[in-house]
């Protein structure tokens, strides 16, 4: 069964986002293999935002991998935002409020973890 509406929109966002993250990760892996980078090397921090575009243009494998990781992590939150917007547009206030509440609790959880941790 194919559903329409907010669930389908969230599904589309996840499909496109997952495909994008997968593509970026594949490019990073291939470039890393071509450069002979050993996966057991010490962890590398992500490039600073200002250097990111230049690193991608220079075909730096780590820039692609970090872009894939960033996109992967952003996808669930983006899907909840889209759900909140979709439910609001559809006039489903209860579901929209629930989605908004998920975002608020997530934000609070992150804040508490940063402050306490």
């Amino acid at each position: 069964m194919i559903v329409r509406g907010t669930s389908a929109s969230v599904g589309r966002l996840l499909r496109v986002g997952a495909a994008g993250a997968f593509g970026l990760a594949v490019v990073g892996v291939v470039l890393g293999l071509a450069a002979g980078i050993d996966p057991t090397l010490a962890p590398s921090p992500p490039p600073s935002p200002g250097d990111w575009l230049a690193a991608l243009q220079a075909l730096d494998p780590l820039a692609f991998v970090w872009a894939a990781i960033g996109l992967t992590i952003a996808l669930p939150t983006a899907s909840v935002v889209l759900a909140a917007v979709g439910f609001t547009r559809a006039g489903d206030r209860r579901a929209a409020a629930t989605a908004a509440l998920v975002l608020v609790t997530l934000g609070c959880a992150l804040l508490i973890a940063i402050v306490v941790g």
């Binding site: 669930s7 997952a18 993250a21 990073g28 996966p39 962890p43 996808l75 669930p76 997530l106 959880a109």
Partner: protein, 284 residues
């Protein structure tokens, strides 16, 4: 090259397994990375969290577009799961972890036994209905039209015992934070055995929400430089392929196979928790 391929194959297995059962695959991936590849436990958990998000996104995309996952219910449960995770994180050091692990092991074994004793679907019954695997709703629990419970119904099922389901989702968050297991191991049985969702709908809905919980934790691991991108990349590639493939073939996999696989996972995690309670074992 060989190591990269091995990591991708491991990611494929975890992604397929997680997408089928709504667990994310961390149960497989953390021991594999920590014991098989010798990664520090914290790095293994960090990469496992990324794989859980990848599994969630790739499989939820399929499940949502096919109408198997229940987005409204998933979001409602997720609110309590996140709150439970915060509470679990805050009280983690005030409770005896061994006692908790023992109690959780007993609970998992009970759930495994309950799921194992469910009778298979009657011959000729529609596979999507999966009615023989649902518990009967309480006789006095009529779903009031227009109520919160009614608004969370799926295409061919009603949601029952919403307050208890919400409470168990909160518990899923607490045990997730306290014991380092994914919330899906509590939420899937809660949705299936308590709230009356068909097993396929329960695992699909769990897949939609586990990525949301994992993303908050993953940010913290990145902020603490615990993610090794060179190991994470091939795992992510394999996970995306495994989860997408499993979500697409899931309707063709017999429900009994999914149920028994879930029972096996419950027993394995229960054994891990029991070992932890006795002072050893590997957390997942």
């Amino acid at each position: 090259m060989a190591l990269t391929i091995l990591l991708a194959v491991g990611g494929f297995g975890a992604g397929a397994f997680g997408a089928l059962l709504g667990l994310g695959g961390g149960v497989l991936l953390v021991p594999m990375l920590a014991l098989g590849f010798g990664l520090p436990f914290r790095e293994a958990v960090a990469i496992s969290l990324l794989a859980v998000i990848a599994t969630s996104s790739a499989s939820a995309a399929v499940y949502l577009q096919r109408g198997v996952a229940n987005l409204r219910l998933g979001l409602a449960l997720e609110v309590l799961t996140v709150i439970g995770a915060v509470i679990g994180g805050l009280v983690a050091f005030a409770l005896d972890e061994r006692l908790l692990a023992a109690a959780f092991a007993v609970m998992l074994l009970y759930v495994a036994l309950t799921m194992a004793r469910r009778r298979p679907a009657a011959a000729g019954a529609p596979a999507s209905a999966d009615t023989s695997l649902e518990i009967a709703p309480a006789p006095d629990e009529a779903v009031v039209p227009g109520s919160m419970t009614a608004s969370l119904a799926g295409p061919d099922y009603q949601v029952h015992r919403l307050p208890l389901g919400l409470a168990l989702s909160g518990l899923a968050g607490v045990v997730s934070a306290l014991l380092g297991v994914g919330g899906g191991i509590v939420k899937v049985p809660a949705m299936h055995l308590v709230m009356g969702l068909p097993l396929r709908a329960a695992t699909a809905t769990s897949n939609v929400t586990i990525g949301v919980t994992a993303s908050a934790s993953a940010v913290l691991y990145i902020m603490r430089d615990a993610v090794d991108p060179l190991v994470a990349a091939p795992v992510l590639v394999g996970t995306f392929i495994g989860a997408t493939t499993a979500a697409r073939v899931a309707p063709r996999i017999p429900l009994a196979a999914i149920r028994w696989l879930f029972v096996v996972v419950l027993v394995v995690v229960a054994i891990q928790m029991a070992a932890r309670a006795l002072g050893g074992g590997v957390a997942s």
